[in-house]
Symmetry: C2
Subunit: 136 residues, 2 copies
DNA sequence: CCGGAGATTAGACAAAGTCCAGATTGCCCA
DNA sequence: TGGGCAATCTGGACTTTGTCTAATCTCCGG
């Protein structure tokens, strides 16, 4: 897959998102790296050369991407949310000391014995986070 | 189990925590309810009658309890951390719309196929969060 | 009674995220 | 070409959660 800015426009359109300049830049920042980025980091990447995109737009856009299913939200650190361009089913490995976050493919993991949901409830997602740290 | 203030002193001592007035009140707030509370909520409960305990003390004490293994931290909501007086192995069910958080006993759930950890790393914990919402 | 370690406090501060009212953009149609 | 309109973007004020610090308080042993 080729995450050039040009291809970002199509990706956005295919998710029913109007591809503006700012949105293309933000999508590019996330998808070209294939990494978990916080809003702050996205803003830093997008504004490296000269300031182009405001804080409000970064936050609005990430929330829009989330709504449209283009990215996933990963909540592992109480101080900030990470955005994940990988939306295929997967879990996370979080290195507590370094803050490093990596993926665990969901196909290799089995989870069984979860209880029935209360009536009228549907599962929105199952987050499995393995917290590890350096042995001392 | 009886979570009176008197018994809190022993509980604290058994976890190597000097039982001061404020610490007993905070422990009592958490354990008498057996619920997941945020720092804000703890502070509200502790200070219902008249202001007794400062914000700094609530945060310091919760962190102390965490270090000493008296409570667990639950990170499901990006905006605030919850503290969980239940330290036995268990997972969480999170109702996204209402913010309601409930326990899933770990004994009924099996997780298999997790990858080997990188060398020199140890697991600190495995958090499984089932996010559900009301069907619409 | 005194000293000191540990605990608590108020309030200033920091960082993430939200909100709003005004400016800009892009596009349709006369 | 030139409005006009809806969608988008913006700076900056604001809120909330949590941290830090320096001063004060408490309590216990000698």
């Amino acid at each position: 897959m080729d995450y050039t800015r040009d291809n970002m426009a199509g990706l956005l359109r295919s998710h029913d998102i109007n591809p503006t300049h700012q949105r293309i830049e933000i999508a590019h920042a996330l998808f070209s790296r294939q990494e978990h980025l916080s809003a702050d980091q996205v803003m830093a990447f997008v504004n490296t050369r000269h300031s182009e995109t405001s804080k409000a737009t970064v936050y609005n856009t990430l929330k829009l991407f989330l709504d449209k299913g283009l990215v996933r939200e990963v909540i592992v650190d109480p101080s900030k949310v990470f955005y994940d361009p990988n939306t295929s089913p997967h879990h996370h490995l979080y290195e507590v000391d370094s803050g490093k976050l990596s993926d665990i493919d969901a196909r290799s993991v089995q989870i069984s014995g979860l209880p029935q949901l209360p009536d009228g409830m549907v599962t929105e997602g199952i987050d499995l986070i393995v917290r590890v740290r350096r042995q001392h």
